[in-house]
Each structure stands twice: as structure tokens, then as C-alpha cells.
């Protein structure tokens, strides 16, 4: 490896895209310089030439018969048209999605009764934003999953919901009589008034039965810590908008942690800078594995997860929370400076810790926040009608199952045969249960071992409700009648409890009867349905530290790690969660925000470890713990603490659908009840044989990879992602534009002026982008972008219109990260247009670079000539085999593209056309804010703003006037309509030399 040499040769701040890039070896150059990867031009269709000719012959014969006349098309009108539907106009309804105790208020786009696209409900008082996280966006595809379970199954027989209900009703009386002896319900955590109510009734009807909630990954440790510290069961809610200084101990609060969108929104508000006079917040981050949150870190310390506990004690001791002697471990200056900064911002600071840290850490964090007077930045709320994950209860239940004490077990959701910690041996415990009954969306690992499997209805197919932490009630309205047979959670829970099969609508209405004011019930109910919520309050609790914290702090003992004594941590997959979205193609193909790996997972290790093991990316390794081992490919990441391994959960599903089966490697195999998040010490790793291909999209479509520029990358990169510290910005407000020299702008031809009417443009604030991927998924949903599979991604054919480029800077072991979303820049002097032989890509008067799919003959010249590498080519007819049901998820306002056609970001031209028509019908011009592109709508930090740059008062114009505004590749004089605002960091001056 000549990595070290390359690093030392580079002076000042240097940027690199990946470790391969830093090595800059011949292989990487060959890889990066080719527009598409090897094999990209060959035809791999199973249609052989002979078959092709025979098919051609058949179609010729047909052509002769049918002549030029097109086929007869039928119009099928309604028999009775629903009053509220006007064909061709989408309706939007409020609804909500629950994910554990988290609530996502939604606004669902519905085309003639067919939900196609979801976004956040901006009116909802808890979220107040249209942004969602990728899981919520992609959940619409789960509704149209062709592999959903469609029938109730009893062992191997297919039966119906009614039959199942009949069988349970027969057994019901016996259980009522024996007070529920031998009966248990195992659900996921939830925050639903109706389900809580049923759970209470369940406890009354069956006093001897039990109902346990369990999630494979949850915030249990946080809740436990808070309970120990304050003596109350409370849930902390962070208000990042009020925090000037944030210290995070491995909390991925901008990534996979709970409340990500609200966290990101608040964080962005405190970080947004309009002029050099503004201030911004500061984030100190201590973590073992490079997380999404690290993109925003001003100071990052690399530290193994178990060592962080000890480090927290250092801080606790500094704040006087515990009285243990301090061991600085050479980080004295860092601790002193951060403590000083936090103390200076008393009441406006915030300390957070990740859910993977043990409860003891959260005890100290809660106490420190109290000492710092952070009553405004973190509030604690009682669990009002929420039931949270209880691991101990779950472990006890499994032990009872093993002893044969459980006769009937209802599993409401989850997939615990796959996801339960390995030492529980849940599958064998399940075998000892006489009647395992599973309510789940798919026929999966758990369903295959259950006596009964009842399909769950998607949340958009049935009624439900939710309550958010601040007490606001939310309704889940169905958007479509159930596509297949099934029950939803409420219906099943009610059936268990009462022996009666009632529909979810009745159940929700019954609960709300007692909540809404009686005298105006009907109008309040209608209003709640319209707005999606009913106001309520759950005021923050008053808290004070109870008990002696020193005793808990003593439980935190760090281990000395080494080559034979490694630490292994398990993380929620940012794509497929705990495996529940494994069969969702959009999410499988979504790159991991930091590693940029799609379609699978890998063991993340540091380069020091890799050198010691003598492994390279994609090499298989054997990870061993407690007598169990798994083989998994490695991926070397900067920023990973030495002697630690990170694995994402959710992969390696053995029974999923056509998409999710056997993708990646199952990390749950090593996960134990003793250490569900961090296995500190005792883990061994050794090189195995062979390799597994990993589809990592980072090095595809690089801006810096043209042959000409290969040697000049280092001069070019700082101009691509421009950044400075806040102090530098204050001293040199125009640093962004001063980075590049001004080039004389000489054009080869007479230019179009683009000075009348609406002129569309976009501004992307790099200081705001957290790389959450919401824009990528929202774009996929809006623009019918196909899923192409791992094979195709490996060939560099990924189709996403908006990619997020990752750049590293500085220390190879602990780099700074910059993320840059790049979609079509809509250059006024677009190079792609100049080379298209058939004028398939042209410019409109309002400044859009448009792609006319029907003209495109697939020469790919445009893509070759595009310096931003934003064009995507349909190498195959990716939508040919799209099942009918998946076609229902397609946006009817956007064409489906065929094989051999180029496509790219259109600035959501269908939304522009929609707004233009609407304005025309209302006899007015298009106003600022009429057009929100899908990516803009999805962005929790409002980093992306679209609008009319010809209107000096529009938001986008205001942003473009800022002195941080710059063009990408400005030296090419392409006049892109998308411009960027440079990134700022706010390091502590006292720590700069250590950064």
C-alpha cells in the first residue's frame, strides 16, 4: 500500500473519496476512468440470438396483420363515481405510520384510490415538517410488495381469517376460565391509545397471562438509565434547536436513532448560517464507527464503544456528578476544553448518548444534563399510552416457553426467529409452544415455524392510531381497501382479548369515543381525520437525581482491547432497519449513508486492523465469539476505532421474498442477550478464504475521474466541496468564491438570455446536508426510478437520479466527512445537449435541461460529455418484469423509461407542469413555494431549495445571493442552475491543534 506516501505528499487540506482513491492505484484508475464498469456494454439478456430472430419473425408477422392501426383501447369509467374523486387530480389524506413508539404523521398522495407517494404532514404539531426518514418514504412499496403473505395458513393448509377467528373463539372460553394460564402475547413496542386500551383489557381478562413487548433494537437502555437517575419511567426528547453546544457519546441522532427527522430539523436550525455575522452550534462527537452524525461533527474522537463508558465517567467527574478520580488517558486537553465550552453554555448545551451504550452511561448523561441546567434542550415525558420494549420480560418469556409453560403464543409482528439474540434459541423455544400463532406481513422465518400465520394488513389498509411523546393524538387512516386477506394489530389484539372479530374502524372509534369531547364528537372526529391529529398535551416531567450515582458508575469498566480481544458492535441498518424492510427493493438499493454499500453488509474495520490481518476490501473473514462464528466480507473504513468491528443487523435473511432472501450476512448469529449491542472483548477475527463482491457506489460517477483531471485531482477537489471554519469565514467572507480563479467567460455561440418568465434553479446547502438519503428515496418514489439489483449495481449502473458524494479530508484514521448531493445541474450551456445527435436532450425557455425519452436512441454521448456524471442509462428493460402490483406504486404523472434510454433529474418537471396548470386555472402567476421538488420536500434540514431565480424575492434567489454560493466545476462555464452553499465547521479554537 502506498497510502501513507500519498497522504504525506499532500499538503494542506486534501480530500479523497475513498481509500481506493487515496491509494490511486492502477486498478482504481481503470475503474474510475471508465464511464461504466466492465461488461457494461455486453448484452447479458437471456434472449439468445436465435430466440431473438424467432421473436422478431413473430412480431413482423403480427405487424403485417395489424397494419398501422394501433390497438383498440378501452375506457372503463366508474359505475358510481365517488363524489370526492375527480379523475386526474390526486387527493391528499392525512394518515400516520408507527415504527415502535415513533410516530410519523403522513400526508398520502392518492390517485383514484391508489396511494402512490407519502410525505410528512406539515400541519402536525409534533413534526411540523414534510420530511420523513427513508424507512417511512419507502414503506409505500411494502404495501405493493408482491411477496406479501396473501392467505391465512394453518400448518400447510390455506384458510381464512374467519376460520382462524372461529378456532380462537372456541378456545377463548377455556382461557377465560383458567385466567389465561399458558397464554402469552409477544408484540413489538407501540404507542397507540387503542392498542394500549386493548392491552389493559387483556390484563383484566387474563390475569395469569402476559403481554410482552420486545424490539430487537430499541431505546431501552436510555429509558432504563433515565429511570435509574430520576426514579421515574420517562422518555427523553431532545431539542437540538435550543442547543449551542452538543456532546454526543456515539449517539447517531441524525441517523438511525429515534426521532431522526425532528432531531435533524432542530439541529439544522441551530446551525444555519446566512451571513458571516451569524453564529452556529458546535458538535463534539465521540464514537467507534463513522456514523452519519459525524458528517456534522466539529470535533470527532475515535474511541471503542466500551471505552466510551469510561470517558463519560471522566466528564461526569468533571461536572461533579460522581466523585471518582479522573483518568484522562492523554485526553486531558480535550476533556477540559469541552467541559469549559459546555459550562459556558449552561442551559444551552446538550449531552446525548447512543442507544447501544449501557444504562449506566445514560444515568450519568441524564445527571450531567441536569447539572448543566439543560431543561430546555432535553425534556422528559411520561410514556402516555406507550408500551416499550422489555428485554428482561422477553428473556423470561422465552425461558418459560422452554419449560413448556406457554401453550398458546401470539406473536404480533416482529420476526423473532430471525432477530432474537442467538443464545436464546428462540426457534427451539417456539417448538415447545403448542400453538404458536404469528401475525406478520410476510411468510418468513417465524411464519414458517408457526402453527398459524395470519397476514398483517399494511398500515395504509386499516385503521389505527398513535400518540406522540408530547401527547398529540394521530389517526392512521386507510388509503385503500385491503389488497389481500389479513388482519391488523388492533383487530388481532381485540380478537385475542374479547374473542370477537371487530374491524379496526370500530375499535379506533371506540377508543376515541372516550378521548374526544362528547358534545362535539362527530365534528372533532371529522376534523381529526382531516388534519390527521387531535391536540393533546403531555407536559415534560419535573426531574431530580435520585440515589447515589457512584454505585452505578462503578459498573462501567473498560476492557483493554487487542488483536485477539476485539469489540464487536451491532447497528441498525440505515436501509432495511432490523430486517423488516429486507424485501423492499428501494431500501436494499439505497447506499448506506456513510459506507455507500448497497445490497448487503460487511464487517467494518479500520485500516490498522486490515494491515494486521492482511486483508483487503471484500476479503472474507471469520468472526468468532463464544464458540459461534460467522463468515463475512470486510470493508475498511476510515474513522473506525482500532480493534473494533461494526456489523449492521437485518441482513442475511433466509426466508424473505424474491428481493430480501440471502442478501448480506446475518450478524444476529453472534448477538447475545448478555451484550445485544456491544460485545466488548472476547471477539476474534481471522482471515478466511475467498471474497464476496460488495456493491459500493462511492467510486462510481466521480466528478474527479476524467483522464485529464486524474493528476490534478488534489487541486480540483477543494473547489468541488468548498469548506471553511466559521472563523475563517468571518475573516474572509468571500472565501467560497476566492478558491477558484475567475475564468473569462467566452462562448462559442450566441447565447440564449433566459431573462424572462420563470427561470428554475436550485440551491443546496452543504452546511445542512446530513446525508440522510431521504431525498434519494423520495426521488425514487416520485419519479418511478427502477430497482436494478446487485449485479447491475456492481457494474456501475445504479439508477438513482440524486446521488450523495462522500469526501473525506484530513487524517486517514479519523477524517472529516463532507457530503454533497449531486443531481442534474441543469446547466444553461449544457454539454450533454451539444452532443446529442437526435436532439433528445434540449433546453426549455425556463431553463430546464429536459430529456425526451421517446427521441433517445441510446448513444450515451450525453452521459460521456456530462462533467457531473448525473445521467443514468437504462441498460436493460428494467421495468419489463415489474409485477402488476408493484406498478400500482408508480406515479402516473411520470413516464416509465424503456431499455436504451437515458434519464436524469428533471427538477420534477411534472410538479412544475402541475403548478403551472393550477396557477393558470386560478388566473395568477406561479408563486414562490408553489413548486416543491420531491427532494426538497424530503429534506429534514431544508438543505435543498428550489424556485424561480428570476424572482429576486424567492427563497432560492435569496440563498443564491449569499456569499457562500458557488457553482460546481465553475471553470467549465456551464452556468449550472443548481448551485451550492459551502460547508462550515465550528471548531473550538482551544482544540484546533488537536482536531
Amino acid at each position: 500500500m502506498n497510502m501513507d506516501k500519498n497522504m504525506s505528499e499532500l499538503k494542506g487540506k486534501s480530500y479523497w473519496r475513498s481509500l481506493n482513491h487515496l491509494e490511486n492505484n492502477a486498478e482504481y484508475r481503470k475503474f474510475a476512468e471508465s464511464e461504466f464498469q466492465e461488461g457494461a456494454s455486453e448484452v447479458v439478456d437471456p434472449v439468445t440470438r436465435r430466440k431473438f430472430l424467432s421473436i422478431m419473425g413473430a412480431s413482423m408477422a403480427l405487424a403485417g396483420l395489424v397494419s398501422c392501426r394501433r390497438p383498440v383501447e378501452k375506457i372503463i369509467p366508474y359505475v358510481t363515481k365517488p363524489e370526492e374523486i375527480t379523475l386526474g387530480i390526486a387527493k391528499h389524506y392525512a394518515s400516520a405510520m408507527n415504527l415502535g413508539v415513533e410516530v410519523f404523521p403522513l400526508l398520502v398522495e392518492n390517485h383514484e384510490g391508489r396511494p402512490t407517494k407519502i410525505a410528512g404532514n406539515k400541519q402536525h404539531p409534533t413534526s411540523n415538517e414534510s420530511a420523513l426518514n427513508p424507512w417511512a418514504y419507502a414503506s409505500i412499496l411494502n404495501l405493493y410488495d408482491p411477496d406479501r403473505a396473501v392467505e391465512v395458513s394453518y400448518v400447510d393448509e390455506k384458510t381464512t381469517v374467519e376460520q382462524f377467528a372461529g378456532v380462537w373463539t372456541k378456545n377463548y372460553d377455556a382461557y377465560v376460565a383458567n385466567q389465561g394460564e399458558g397464554l402469552a402475547v409477544l408484540s413489538e413496542s407501540f404507542a397507540s391509545p387503542s392498542l394500549s386500551k386493548i392491552k389493559d383489557e387483556f390484563a383484566q381478562t387474563f390475569p395469569k397471562a402476559r403481554w410482552v413487548a420486545y424490539d430487537p433494537v430499541s431505546d431501552e437502555n436510555i429509558y432504563k438509565g433515565v429511570e435509574i437517575a430520576f426514579g421515574q419511567k420517562l422518555r427523553p426528547i431532545y431539542h437540538f434547536d435550543k442547543a449551542n453546544v452538543i456532546l454526543s457519546f456515539e449517539a447517531d441522532f441524525l441517523g438511525t436513532d429515534s426521532n431522526m427527522t425532528q432531531n435533524a430539523k432542530g439541529f439544522a436550525e441551530a446551525r444555519r448560517v446566512k451571513t458571516e455575522k451569524d453564529s452556529m452550534n458546535r458538535l463534539y462527537l465521540v464514537e467507534s464507527s463513522l456514523s452519519q452524525t459525524s458528517v456534522m461533527a466539529d470535533h470527532r474522537l475515535r474511541m471503542s464503544s466500551n471505552e466510551i463508558g469510561q470517558f463519560v465517567k471522566t466528564f461526569a467527574s468533571e461536572f461533579g456528578v460522581i466523585n471518582e478520580s479522573i483518568q484522562y488517558d492523554g485526553r486531558r486537553d480535550w476533556v477540559k476544553a469541552v467541559v469549559k465550552d459546555l459550562k459556558k453554555n449552561k442551559g444551552h448545551s446538550l449531552i446525548v448518548a447512543g442507544r447501544q451504550q449501557p444504562a449506566e452511561v445514560h444515568v450519568l448523561v441524564a445527571a450531567m444534563n441536569l447539572v448543566l441546567g439543560n431543561q430546555k434542550t432535553v425534556t422528559y415525558h411520561a410514556f402516555d399510552k406507550a408500551v416499550v420494549s422489555d428485554s428482561d420480560g422477553f428473556y423470561a418469556l422465552v425461558s418459560d416457553m422452554n419449560q413448556g409453560k406457554i401453550e398458546t403464543l401470539f406473536m404480533l409482528g416482529g420476526n423473532l426467529v430471525y432477530a432474537a439474540p442467538t443464545d436464546l434459541q428462540f426457534a427451539s423455544a417456539l417448538n415447545k409452544v403448542k400453538h404458536p400463532i404469528y401475525l406478520g406481513t410476510h411468510y418468513n422465518e417465524t411464519a414458517s415455524r408457526s402453527e398459524w400465520h395470519v397476514p398483517t394488513l399494511h398500515y395504509l389498509e386499516a385503521w389505527g392510531d398513535a400518540i406522540s411523546h408530547d401527547g398529540v393524538l394521530t389517526v392512521t387512516q386507510p388509503m385503500i381497501s385491503p389488497l389481500f386477506m389479513g388482519m391488523n394489530f388492533l383487530e388481532m389484539a381485540n380478537l385475542i382479548t374479547t374473542g370477537e372479530y371487530l374491524k379496526s374502524y370500530e375499535l379506533v372509534r371506540k377508543t376515541w369515543d372516550s378521548i374526544l369531547p362528547m358534545d362535539i364528537f362527530e365534528s372533532a372526529w371529522q376534523k381529526s381525520l382531516h388534519n390527521g391529529y387531535f391536540s393533546g398535551t403531555n407536559k415534560p416531567a419535573r426531574v431530580s437525581v435520585k440515589g447515589n450515582l457512584n454505585t452505578f458508575a462503578k459498573n462501567i469498566k473498560p476492557l483493554k482491547l487487542g488483536v485477539d480481544n476485539l469489540e464487536l458492535s451491532y447497528k441498525l441498518s440505515p436501509q432495511i432497519h432490523d430486517g423488516r424492510y429486507a424485501n423492499n427493493g428501494w431500501l436494499q438499493e439505497l447506499p448506506d449513508p456513510v459506507t455507500k454499500i448497497t445490497w448487503g453488509n460487511a464487517a467494518i474495520i479500520s485500516s490498522t486492523m486490515a494491515k494486521k490481518l492482511d486483508v483487503e476490501n471484500q476479503d472474507m473473514v471469520k468472526i468468532e465469539y463464544d464458540g459461534i462464528y460467522m463468515k463475512v466480507p470486510v470493508w475498511i473504513m476510515p474513522g473506525q476505532a482500532d480493534y473494533t468491528i461494526s456489523l449492521t443487523l437485518g441482513y442475511g435473511r433466509s426466508v424473505s421474498g424474491r428481493i430480501g432472501t440471502d442478501i448480506g450476512f446475518n450478524a444476529t448469529l453472534l448477538r447475545t442477550t448478555k451484550s445485544p449491542y456491544i460485545t466488548a472483548g472476547g471477539v476474534k477475527i481471522s482471515k478466511s478464504y475467498g471474497q464476496t463482491a460488495i456493491a459500493c457506489v462511492q467510486d462510481y460517477h466521480g466528478l474527479d475521474t476524467e483522464k485529464l483531471a486524474a493528476d490534478a485531482i488534489q487541486t480540483r477537489l477543494p473547489a468541488l466541496v468548498r469548506e471553511a471554519t466559521l472563523d475563517e469565514y468571518r475573516n474572509e467572507p468571500n472565501f467560497t468564491r476566492d478558491i477558484t480563479e475567475e475564468y473569462p467567460e467566452v462562448s462559442m455561440w450566441k447565447e440564449f438570455l433566459y431573462d424572462t418568465g420563470n427561470q428554475w434553479g436550485m440551491s443546496i446547502d452543504l452546511n445542512m446536508c446530513t446525508s440522510c438519503n431521504a431525498c434519494t428515496i423520495a426521488c425514487q418514489s416520485e419519479n418511478n426510478i427502477p430497482v436494478i439489483g446487485k449485479e447491475q449495481v456492481l457494474k456501475g449502473r445504479d439508477m438513482s437520479w440524486i446521488r450523495i458524494d462522500r469526501y473525506f479530508a484530513g487524517d486517514i484514521e479519523n477524517p472529516e466527512v463532507v457530503m454533497q448531493p449531486v443531481a442534474c445541474q441543469h446547466c444553461e450551456l449544457a454539454p450533454c445537449e451539444q452532443v446529442c445527435p437526435v436532439a433528445a436532450t434540449t433546453h426549455t425557455e425556463d431553463g430546464l435541461n429536459t430529456m425526451t425519452y421517446n427521441r433517445c436512441i441510446g448513444t450515451r454521448y450525453c452521459s460521456n460529455n456530462c462533467p457531473y456524471k448525473v445521467r443514468r442509462f437504462n441498460f436493460h428493460n428494467y421495468t419489463k418484469d415489474t409485477p402488476d402490483i408493484v406498478q400500482m406504486a408508480m406515479n402516473p404523472d411520470v413516464s416509465i423509461r424503456f431499455r436504451g434510454v437515458m434519464e436524469k433529474c428533471t427538477f420534477c418537471t411534472q410538479r412544475i407542469a402541475g403548478a403551472r396548470n393550477k396557477a393558470r386555472l386560478e388566473d395568477r402567476g406561479i408563486m414562490d413555494g408553489d413548486i416543491i421538488t420531491a427532494c426538497q420536500e424530503a429534506c429534514p434540514t431544508e438543505a435543498i431549495v428550489f424556485g424561480d431565480i428570476n424572482d429576486p424575492k424567492s427563497r432560492v434567489s435569496e440563498l443564491k445571493k449569499q456569499n457562500r454560493d458557488y457553482d460546481l466545476l465553475s471553470e467549465l462555464n456551464l452556468r449550472p442552475r443548481t448551485t451550492y452553499l459551502s460547508k462550515l465547521r465550528n471548531p473550538n479554537p482551544e482544540l484546533e491543534q488537536h482536531a
Partner: protein
């Protein structure tokens, strides 16, 4: 040795040459003419499951287009009416008619009537009825005098060129908003002036970019 070919044979290559040119020109014109929507689509008059007569309803009875095609002013699609719209009247009028049997059957069974689409533009062209009506383009401009047709027939080619001709200069087709559904409309003498006024007042700028219709 006598000449094998007569002297007139010298002119044969010329004839062949001219002949090829004529043949190619004919072929090209043939494809251009017989392949164009003007030939293939204009006059398309399929048989419908119910012989619904626009002549009777729209002309003789004087019903407005918008009684049935309710989406036309607000939406992209004008909308073929639901069975219910037919039954609004036909529960009273001709309730036993043989011709209306499919309508009654649809009403009783809940199965829609399958009409045959006459005016068909490709799926990748996004046409919006409401935008055209709002600026005063009459139904007749694209659909012809529907009120005179017992069975609906396509009168315009609906080809891209035909669309663009009007988008480039819509002045012949702009009417006062009150007249958009009128059939047999005759342009007044001052049509050019009127159109110029409308274009200026409403700031009409019909898109001729690809993305105007294709997305």
C-alpha cells in the same frame, strides 16, 4: 455484326434512373401519407357497446358537454361519465329501451361499460383539458363538431405536428370563454384582434418545449 440493342436502348439507363427516383419518392410519400395520423387516425369511428348519439343528446336535446364530461374544466381528463350519469335520466326516459340494456346491466351488476377510446394520444404525452379550456380553446378545435355525430369519429390527426401548429399560433382557435363548448362556432371577423388581445391579457405562451407535454 448487327447491333444487339436498338439505339433507343441508350435512353434506358435514364429511364431507370428517373424511375428509381420516382419510385423512391412515391414510396417516401406513401409512407409519409399512409403512415401519418392524418390517414391512419382521422375518420376512426369504432362501434361502441351502446350506440350513444351525441347528435341526439348534444344537438337535438341541447345538453352541454359538461353535463357528462365533468372533469374537463378542472382536470387533465375530461372524463367519460359513470353509468350513474346515464341513469340520472334513463330511469325515467326510455327505461325499457333495448339499446340501453348494457347500461342497465352495468347499473345492476356494478360492472362498468367498456367504451372504446376514440381520441387517443400516447401515454408519454401529457395533455391537460382544463388548461386548454381555461384560455378559450373550444372542444371543437380538437374533437370536431361532436354534436353532429351519431357515432363519434376522430376528425383531427392529433399528431405532434398538429399540436405544435396550434401551440405556435393559437389565434385561430381562441374563443370567448362562454363559447368553448359551442359547436359549429364561426370565428368573427375580428378574430385576429380578439386573439391578440387574449394572448396579451392572459400572457399566453403555449409551451413548444418537449417538456411541455412529455415528462
Amino acid at each position: 455484326m448487327g447491333q444487339i440493342f436498338p439505339k433507343s436502348a441508350n435512353r434506358v439507363p435514364g429511364f431507370i434512373f428517373v424511375g428509381i427516383i420516382v419510385a423512391v419518392a412515391c414510396l417516401a410519400y406513401g409512407i409519409y401519407y399512409f403512415g401519418s395520423p392524418k390517414y391512419t387516425d382521422v375518420g376512426y369511428q369504432p362501434e361502441q357497446p351502446v350506440p350513444y348519439s351525441h347528435l341526439l343528446h348534444a344537438d337535438t336535446l341541447g345538453m352541454d358537454c359538461r353535463y357528462c364530461h365533468t372533469g374537463v374544466e378542472v382536470s387533465a381528463v375530461a372524463m367519460v361519465p359513470p353509468t350513474q350519469t346515464c341513469m340520472n335520466c334513463h330511469t325515467m326516459i326510455l327505461p325499457e329501451s333495448e339499446l340501453l340494456a348494457p347500461i342497465r346491466e352495468s347499473w345492476n351488476t356494478g360492472k362498468p361499460v367498456e367504451w372504446v377510446r376514440v381520441h387517443n394520444i400516447p401515454d408519454y404525452a401529457y395533455f391537460n383539458h382544463s388548461a386548454h379550456l381555461k384560455v378559450g380553446i373550444g372542444c371543437e378545435s380538437c374533437h370536431g363538431n361532436i354534436a353532429s355525430m351519431a357515432i363519434v369519429r376522430q376528425t383531427q390527426p392529433l399528431s405532434m405536428r398538429w399540436c405544435l401548429d396550434c401551440h405556435k399560433d393559437p389565434s385561430d382557435h381562441l374563443r370567448p370563454l362562454s363559447d368553448v363548448t359551442k359547436m359549429n362556432w364561426v370565428a368573427p371577423a375580428n378574430q385576429k384582434e380578439f386573439a391578440a388581445k387574449v394572448i396579451a391579457e392572459k400572457r399566453l405562451n403555449p409551451p413548444i418545449d418537449c417538456s411541455g407535454c412529455h415528462r
